[in-house]
């Protein structure tokens, strides 16, 4: 009996978008069930929106839609913005699932996504997290072209082995509200002895858009939390040299850098920074401002 537990955390998503998210996810999970890779599928949706993003009528339709693919769907309105890390923790906490599928609310799963990810995890007992390939813009971080082994796994869409999740523990929501919770979790998973694998045939559409110059657009919140995460990651993974370098840079940077710097310094003065890991720098990589070597 293999139990797959899928999770998504909404934040201000419209009904049509949520319907697409649910349809694609349960359809893909249903196909994996039909292929015999999983037996039971549950799908927990958390909602960090100000107002419920799913009305009672819409929830009824979503539940019926999930049932058509044999998926049990539950919805929880948090009445608070918990961020992605704590939002997902709540949905996975105490669940004894064999596999956890994490799907961003702005993703659309390919029909064979779950099947491909589940096969990868089933085929290699060392894989703790299997990560999907993203379109329209593939993440530039490098991976081993033969094995798919990668430095960190994007949790926009990935499959976590239940055993690994229970060993590693929850996402560090106290430190990473929105950004880089996946980088941190990936490195902790590797420290626990698991490997991370990119599965190029498992595809998710991730609603990323471009600026006029061709760069992937980021919201002001993303800019801020990315800056904050950079400080916390360098600190947590024992690269205080980089932390100090960033603090010096951020002091002269734009407002969101200054705000991130202030948050870090506040936590440091209050002694609430995360415990430092990876003193020998076995897993953490900081390359040109990225958390892995990039292909381009």
């Amino acid at each position: 009996m293999t139990w797959l537990h899928a999770t998504s955390v909404l934040y201000g998503n419209d009904e049509a978008g949520t319907a697409r998210l649910v349809a694609s996810t349960v359809h893909s999970a249903g196909r994996a069930r039909a292929a015999g890779l999983v037996d039971r599928v549950t799908y927990a949706i958390g909602d960090s929106s100000r107002e419920p993003a799913v009305t009672p009528d819409a929830l009824k339709l979503l539940t019926e839609r999930a049932e058509r693919d044999g998926v049990e769907l539950v919805y929880d309105f948090y009445d608070a913005n918990l961020g992605s890390a704590e939002g997902n923790n709540r949905l996975m906490r105490d669940q004894q699932a064999d596999l956890f599928l994490m799907v961003n609310p702005d993703c659309y799963a390919a029909p064979d996504l779950v099947e491909r990810l589940a096969r990868r995890v089933a085929d290699d007992r060392k894989v703790g997290i299997a990560e999907a390939r993203q379109i329209p813009f593939d993440h530039p971080k490098a991976h081993d072209p033969k094995t798919g082994v990668t430095g960190w796994a994007s949790m926009a869409c990935c499959l976590i082995r239940g055993e690994a999740f229970r060993q590693v523990g929850e996402l560090d929501s106290a430190t990473f509200f929105l950004y880089c919770d996946d980088v941190d979790y990936s490195w902790r998973t590797r420290l626990a002895g698991w490997t991370l694998s990119r599965v190029p045939t498992a595809v998710t559409f991730h609603d990323k858009r471009l600026t006029a110059e061709g760069a992937v657009k980021a919201s002001p919140a993303e800019h801020y939390y990315a800056a904050e995460a950079a400080l916390f990651l360098t600190w947590k993974y024992s690269r205080t040299d980089l932390t100090e370098h960033l603090l010096a840079q951020f002091a002269k940077g734009p407002d969101h850098h200054k705000l991130a710097r202030r948050e870090f310094l506040d936590r440091r003065s209050h002694g609430t920074l995360p415990e430092q890991l990876d003193p020998d720098h076995k897993v953490a990589e900081f390359v040109d401002g990225n958390y892995a070597r990039h292909r381009f």
Binding site: S24, P111, P136, T201, V203, F205, G214, F296
Partner: protein, 573 residues
């Protein structure tokens, strides 16, 4: 009638065309019933072809003339259908009906559809005799061009005969008879390059040699058939009435044409995935499988079938055989129901707001082409079972606004950045040129843009994948092919009048000014260079003639000898 409709028969006249269709479709050995016969211009040729002939008309003048020539004739009022049919039955008696002819008659009838319906029943009752008609074409280019100038010149006879009560175009000529139970089986239209409406002399819109006349003729010729048809000459057989097709009411905003050869299921999968994720679901997808084998078609169908029903029910798989790159697109346009047509190759992907952004812009400028920014990313095909890979980040190298003048020079816009108003294909007759092996999209853009304009949205919404290794049109076709297509399109553009959008004059002025400025700069540099060359020459001459140069001559000779000796020593090792 005072003889105004008395015209002589010749094989090259409209009567000759009618007799040709009678010979092709009439039942042998019977009677040709000529309704609205006038003076019976086709009586003798029908007789010569072995048919009996009875002329019917409401006007006695022609009937008397027919009798005098030895033909049967009878009075008839075709606006009284029942009486007319009774009169025909009475005249025919037991004799078989070979065909019914109506030359320049239907357009005079106030109850034309009813009369045609009654005649269809008569023909069916009498063994299925055909109907042959000649009807003036109200969409002849001469009429269309003059109407633009506010001219509607009614005349005693001809295209705008003052007694016409109904006008016919190339759709009516099929649909009106069909609704009355006559189904077209033959056509031998009578054309006139210069119709009776080709006046006044020297009117620019009527000449094919003036820019405006040529432009109108080009538009008219592409839009619909029969530009030069003076009279439609058609044959029909009787049958059940068929109502004209009604326009579909549930048109989606867009029809997305996805062209595939079924050779790249991985990229097709990704292209469809990006369509399934569209934030605007007001679209249908036509998957045009071009020259695919059965097994490739199965693979494509399986990819579609794998998607959730919410998406796959919007997708139709359309096999298309033969032709080049334009063929599947034309087939797709013909099948499309959307108000706009967008096109995606099976190796490209789009962002989630691709359709949404097209719709937003189209709502602001209905009927215009919409152009969005296309990003480009370099890829290599997967080898030895590996997935294809991007090898660089996306970039936006194409101009963010559509520049018509720029597009007259070259193609600056990948196809997935356009949404074309479908009405432009259906009403202007724009087609993807299947003679072109590449750049068929550029040809359509420069053809359609002057007609309906282009509105630009600066949002990048699609990704053109440039394959640096692997198969796609960029590498499947030779440089010579690309250049030949480019040359052909440029020559065609140069050969025809082209409408410029507002703002083009300022742009041309700017280009000229820029050119003049560059030329001035170049001239200035050349003058300066010449001056410096002269100065250099002059200074050199002064120097060589100077006392110091002459005094130091032995030193230079000594240096020259020393360099030579060193070179010899080096050569000896």
């Amino acid at each position: 009638m005072d003889g105004k409709y008395q015209f002589n028969y010749t094989d090259a006249s409209v009567y000759g065309h009618v007799v040709h269709l009678v010979r092709s479709h009439a039942r042998p050995g019977g009677i040709v019933v000529d309704l609205g016969a006038g003076f019976g211009a086709i009586a003798e040729p029908c007789h010569a072809a072995g048919y009996g002939y009875i002329g019917f008309d409401v006007d006695p003048e022609g009937l008397d003339d027919l009798k005098a020539r030895g033909f049967e004739s009878a009075r008839i009022d075709l606006d009284q259908p029942d009486d007319a049919v009774a009169a025909i039955d009475a005249a025919l008696g037991d004799r078989p009906l070979a065909a019914i002819t109506m030359l320049d008659t239907v357009e005079h009838l106030t109850r034309g559809p009813e009369t045609l319906a009654a005649l269809s029943e008569l023909a069916l009752r009498r063994g299925g005799a055909p109907l042959v008609v000649s009807i003036p074409n109200v969409t002849h280019i001469d009429l269309a061009a003059k109407l633009l100038l506010g001219r509607w010149d009614v005349t005693d006879t001809g295209l705008l005969d003052r007694t016409h009560v109904r006008f016919y175009d190339s759709r009516d000529i099929v649909e009106v008879p069909a609704a009355a139970g006559w189904h077209q089986v033959g056509a031998d239209d009578f054309e006139l390059v210069v119709s009776d409406q080709h006046f006044p002399e020297g009117l620019a819109v009527l000449s094919r040699k003036t820019p405006i006349g040529r432009l109108l003729a080009d538009i008219r010729a592409a839009a619909a058939p029969s530009m030069l048809v003076n009279q439609y000459v058609r044959a029909y057989v009787p049958g059940k009435p068929v109502a004209a097709p009604s326009a579909p009411v549930d048109e989606p905003f867009a029809t997305i044409l996805v062209r595939t050869q079924g050779r790249r299921p991985e990229t097709l999968h990704d292209a469809l995935l990006s369509l399934a994720a569209q934030t605007c679901e007001d679209h249908e997808v036509l998957l045009l499988c071009h020259n695919t084998s059965d097994s490739q078609l199965r693979v494509v169908s399986d990819v579609v079938a794998s998607f959730p029903p919410e998406f796959r029910e919007r997708v139709r798989v359309v096999p298309v055989s033969g032709g080049r790159r334009g063929t599947p697109l034309n087939a797709g346009v013909a099948e499309a129901r959307g108000r706009y047509v967008t096109i995606l190759d099976d190796d490209d992907v789009v962002t989630a707001h691709w359709v949404e952004e097209f719709k937003r812009a189209a709502d602001e400028a209905p009927g215009s082409i919409v152009r969005a920014v296309v990003a480009r990313q370099d890829f290599v095909a997967g080898e030895r079972g590996r997935m294809y890979e991007p090898i660089g980040p996306a970039s936006c190298p194409y101009p963010d606004e559509f520049d018509f003048l720029g597009h007259l020079v070259d193609n600056w816009s990948p196809l997935c950045g356009f949404a074309f108003p479908r009405i432009c294909f259906s009403e202007f007759g724009v087609r993807f040129d299947d003679e072109l092996t590449v750049l068929e999209d550029w040809d359509v853009v420069v053809t359609m843009a002057p007609l309906c304009g282009v509105v630009s949205t600066k949002e990048p919404t699609s990704v053109y994948r440039r394959w640096l290794v692997g198969s796609h049109s960029g590498v499947d076709h030779s440089d010579a092919e690309w250049e030949a297509a480019r040359t052909l399109i440029r020559e065609r553009l140069n050969d025809r009048p082209v409408l410029m959008p507002p703002g083009a004059v300022a742009r041309v002025r700017h280009l000229f000014a820029s050119h003049d400025h560059q030329k001035e700069r170049a001239d200035k540099f050349e003058r300066e260079a010449n001056f410096l060359r002269e100065r250099l020459h002059h200074v050199g001459a002064e120097y060589r003639n100077s006392t110091s140069w002459r005094i130091t001559a032995p030193l230079r000779l000594f240096g020259k000898v020393a360099r030579k000796l060193r070179a010899i020593q080096r050569a000896r090792g």
